[in-house]
Symmetry: C2
């Protein structure tokens, strides 16, 4: 029996890893649904290759562009194509999908991920915003349906043998590369450029997560993610900077023993495990032509404390996570807007964290009782962050 | 329900770890039987503390010394005391023991370990000679009763969640400290002393295993042990020198993912896990007053290839393991005698490996069909090694 996938965010970075797995293992996977954003050309080529029943794009504009391509190329059995959040949700709930890979970027991933989980579908979760914004709303039944895709959480999931149940634990040691600005002073950070922020030392990822790694907010989000996935209190989750990015995270037990997962920094490994756990595919053999190499243990593995002074976003996130309510959703929304402004050259790198601070302290948190609460906090925080940045600009 | 232990080698190094666990957790463990060698004074104090039903000592001499102590101190309910191999075997088969910890040093451990396994008892196995000499005679039913105590095999056992079943695997990466002479040239090895050989850089162990670590024969024995415990072919077991001795071994899967177990180099962790797996005791909390500290990740973790030129004993063992039959038993017996001679100052360090080479090539191997075959090979090899060393001396 093939594993029938619905891939949300099929044209993104993690989506690309999933696509290469489906291509390498046509006997293992098939594709029921594909959702993309604005890259209709790439989506079109995926549709031709995998023939899903359903596709989704960002808006009517991409839908029309897609239909134009179907017509030009004489596509015989084009899929149903839907748009916007509705399209994403339809893909997440597609009756022929066994596993939903949620690799959408940002808050847009929240509703479809919860829709799939509440419908009892297995979700391979790369969209960390779902847990950051609304992890507290996750019931045990839904939680058990999640397989993490983030390399750090995958590491812990793997060390646990493919479950989220840790049993008694001393700590989760969540490793962090430290990003491109590791070792910088707060002063030196003032002169970094967009290009530098986009040069991640070890991982090849999407633009937003790359910038979030540079501020270390991403690691703060991952702390929240670990808290919700593994039901581990914040005091027991410790960030450890590991610049080589080969140890992907660790579990420390009360007897002093530590289990770690290591591997090349390649998302295909974590993505594959999320789809097939506890089984594993022979990726080293089958993807060797596509750049997957075993670890060679040539470089020393080093570890250091994170620098919370230079990277205050990490502590901001840890704090927001502990306080809970809608604060994490506010933090994420403000960050999405701030990073977008940074990517467009509108604000400087160090202002990203300032936008986060101001947004959290100005908006404050409120209780989180439903997805609507999270979505409303998201909306207000975006508005506030945008107005704040307009002030910076002027 | 307490776990009732029979500890073979109670006065040795691993035995001492077990004793400290029983002392720290009287609600978890009780002691049904204790076997020691010649250290009757220490055994006596253990008997007073744990009140086993049965004790065993090396010979009639230690038995009498023990009875004398019972009498002098007015011991009210002294245990039954037996001697020699018979005494060891009785301890291994004691009906009130749930788990037999076999921490005897050397070939003497073979018969009692197999006796316990064949009787269906769970065996926490520190005596690697049992597997080196006769691992091929182990049936699946007996194998499933073993919990490894050696830190390397415990690491793999832990990474597997407390089972010996690896599933599809690329490699076992068996880490080695490299011993006190790591980085030496073959020439420089010619001038090392007994004291230097006994100064292990990271582990505090018995004298024979410390010398075996210095020649790296111990790591070769551990390769055999891993082969038999985890049913992994020799080609898939790779020794990796890791001088910091914090990563205790690793499993590499066909997808490129590696699971590793790390921890302070302290035998109490592995011994406790062997006794309670898959559960763990809160050792960090309960043994903090006795020197157990969590890993602090201050030092870089480094890895290098073993130097098979300077340490030919490693390759000798790997070769003997692959060829099988009685060769591993011959290798072990020759080594026991050679190390004993080295410890007594009779031969130089580099002669140990020469004794091994000569013994293997002179005696050759024969098929291994029973424990008797292994014991016979053991006997002939000792005789040969002793005669060979007499030649060296003269």
């Amino acid at each position: 029996m093939k594993i029938r996938l619905s891939i949300l965010g099929a044209t993104g970075s993690v989506g690309g890893s999933a696509v290469s797995l489906v291509e390498a293992y046509p006997e293992v996977f098939s594709v029921a649904a594909l959702a993309a954003g604005k890259n209709h050309r790439l989506l079109y080529s995926l549709i031709r290759r995998f023939r899903p029943r359903l596709a989704a794009v960002f808006s009517e504009r991409e839908r029309e562009a897609l239909f134009k391509l179907f017509k030009e190329e004489g596509c015989k059995s084009p899929p149903q194509v839907e748009t916007g959040d509705y399209g994403l949700e339809l893909c997440a709930l597609h009756p022929e999908a066994d596993v939903v890979l949620s690799a959408v970027s940002g808050a847009r991933g929240l509703v479809p991920a919860f829709a799939a989980l509440r419908a009892g579908k297995k979700v391979a979760l790369a969209n960390k915003e779902s847990l950051v914004m609304a992890g507290d709303l996750l019931g045990d039944r839904e939680r058990a349906l999640i397989s993490p895709v983030d390399s750090e959480h995958s590491a812990i999931f793997q060390a646990l043998g493919g479950t989220l149940e840790t049993g008694p634990l001393r700590r989760i040691l969540l490793t962090a590369s430290g990003g491109p600005f590791r070792g910088y002073s707060p002063m030196r950070l003032k002169s970094v450029t967009l290009e530098e922020a986009l040069s991640h030392p070890s991982w090849n990822m999407g633009r937003r997560i790359t910038v979030d790694s540079a501020t270390m907010l991403n690691k703060g989000f991952e702390v929240m993610e670990a808290h919700h996935l593994f039901k581990v209190p914040y005091e027991r989750i410790q960030v450890l900077v590991h610049p080589e990015s080969l140890v992907h995270s660790m579990l420390e037990y009360p007897d002093g023993s530590i289990l770690a997962q290591l591997g090349p920094p390649d998302m295909r490994i974590a993505a594959a495990y999320a789809l097939t756990a506890p089984k594993r595919l022979p990726l080293l053999e089958d993807l060797s032509g596509q750049g997957l190499r075993p670890l060679d243990f040539q470089r020393p593995l080093t570890f250091e404390e994170p620098d919370r002074l230079t990277f205050p976003a990490l502590a901001l996130a840890e704090e927001a996570g502990k306080k809970g309510g809608t604060l994490p959703a506010i933090l994420n929304a403000a960050d999405e807007e701030a990073v977008e402004a940074f990517l467009q050259g509108k604000i400087h790198f160090t202002l990203i964290t300032r936008v986060l601070e101001e947004s959290l302290s100005r908006l404050g948190g409120s209780p989180l009782n439903s997805l609507e609460d999270a979505l409303e906090a998201d909306k207000s925080a975006r508005e506030y962050a945008l107005s704040l940045m307009r002030k910076f600009e002027s």
